[in-house]
Amino acid sequence: MIPTLTHTKIQRQNMTLMSFGFVLGLVVLTSLSFGAFSIPFPQTLAILFDQMGLSFGSYELQQSNVLLQIRLPRVLMAIVVGGGLGISGAALQGMFRNPLVEPGLIGVSSGSALFAVLFMVLIPTATATFSWVKLLGLPFFAFVGGLTCVTAVYQLSKSQGKIDAATLILAGVAINALAGSLIGLVLFFADDSALRSFTFWSLGDLGGATWAKIPLTFLLIVIPSILLLFNARQLNTLALGEQEAFHMGVNVQQVKIRLLISCALIVGVGVSMVGMIGFVGLVVPHLIRILFGADHRLVLPGSFLLGAILLNFADLVARLIVIPAEMPIGVITALIGAPFFIWLIFNLNKSRN
């Protein structure tokens, strides 16, 4: 007798996602209360509940200012960007049918960065004062850059309807190198202060998160993420191959376009808001697959939640280890991610032999 499949599986998936949500809540609370200026847990809760009109205890005005004006937007930014990196990593891996794919590896991140830098240098007046031009222009430019690069990599690595893994990595490396050198070229003509802000930005920086940026970021990351969730079954069929997906009635071309645009939007907006943060998009989907299997109906939402958890955690570490200064968050994610990547390659080699 076959175990009742759909029902228990869905139940298990919901439990998994709920426990992820619970962990995310804990990490967020911890992240809100710890830092250079520490706010005890009861006060943290009191401030949050007070915002909802519930009296829960007393707190000082300074505490509420730090929490609401500095930490909360930062934590929200980490949730949405980390989640976006996780889910887009999972979707791109599924689409390319390659577990090594990551937004940083196939040129989405560097393409976004290149166009973002171009925008900042070409429109210097906009960077000086925080205006709507910058708020909208920067993510849009980053999106276009990311989409251009990922499309180029995809076309280069495709031959006879199949994606060749080796060519894919090579094309990614080439596009990354090209984008990197162009960024260098643009920066060569930039002034000193732009240069310094960029070096920090290239490793990722959540410190710039303000309330002004939050609504737009949420909109531009959450909507494409939801769109990705609706394509989970199609991604499952793509795992068998593009031809097989077509045989099963999936409009492969349309699905791929949807996936590419959504991922480029998520990563582009993320890069333009907090800079390049590597390895989240690679590590997170893998962890989910190892723990819970390959079904994208779980991998996609699970990657979003785990990405949000990991980025918040990394941000907490980045803020705590060198108080009162801050470590760039990319350093922390790479510190976790690079050893994992090595372990992954090692294991892939072993399983092939």
Partner: protein, 267 residues
Amino acid sequence: MLQASQIHFCIRQRPIVDEVSLQLSPGEILAVLGPNGAGKSTFFKILSGEITCKHGTVGYNGHNIRSLKSKELAAVRAVMPQHSQVNFPFTAQEVVELGLISTTSKNPQKLIEEVMEATNTIHLNGQVFNQLSGGEKQRVQLARVLVQIWESKPFPRYLLLDEPTSSLDIAQQHAVLKILQTLKSRNIGILLILHDLNLAAQYADKIALLKNGIIAKIGKVEDVLEEKILQDVFDHPIQLIKNAATGVTHISAATQSYSAIPTFKLA
């Protein structure tokens, strides 16, 4: 009716499929045989819609394949390609369930169960697909394909299989072909590429012999199975042996004598 008429397909000016026409009625098994490089797989891909062909038409139940969307096409035909790889740790059951995407089944659980029972894959359900043996993978893929057309529909449907028995042992080969035979009563027409003449002779209703992109012979099994035709198509001596007890014709491709093998003198 699945109808292909005057399919002509060239790669670099060289015709791979040359003015091929055939018909497949529901409730019929048509085996396509031929030597390597005869154009079987290309023709197969044109029929399944994987390759679009400028010359000639493919029609499913009277609808031109080019006017059908991939979803509409999936409702009338299922395809089992030769090799499918899965790069992620899907379980066998998850792979079978992928076939559900084009169906509107009210009871998907029962459907999956029936198909996995029929393909003898039910015991594999929780195992990771990539770790299965070649034969098990092939049966799981067959189950996945069958899910797509298992539930009965008021219109005829078609099943295309490219060497579905290539990794199976003798018992499983016959098991698979027996499953295909049961599909005939479900108003399904089956076209399959085979390499084993005996399997084709035993289970098919019609045989098409393809050589150099041309149909050398198509017709009922007993009309096609003639020593001369088979020898011409395969460029190999072939003998038909009739089993006096069962009345079944067996095809033997053994060379008549060892003299056919060139011997080299040792210096």
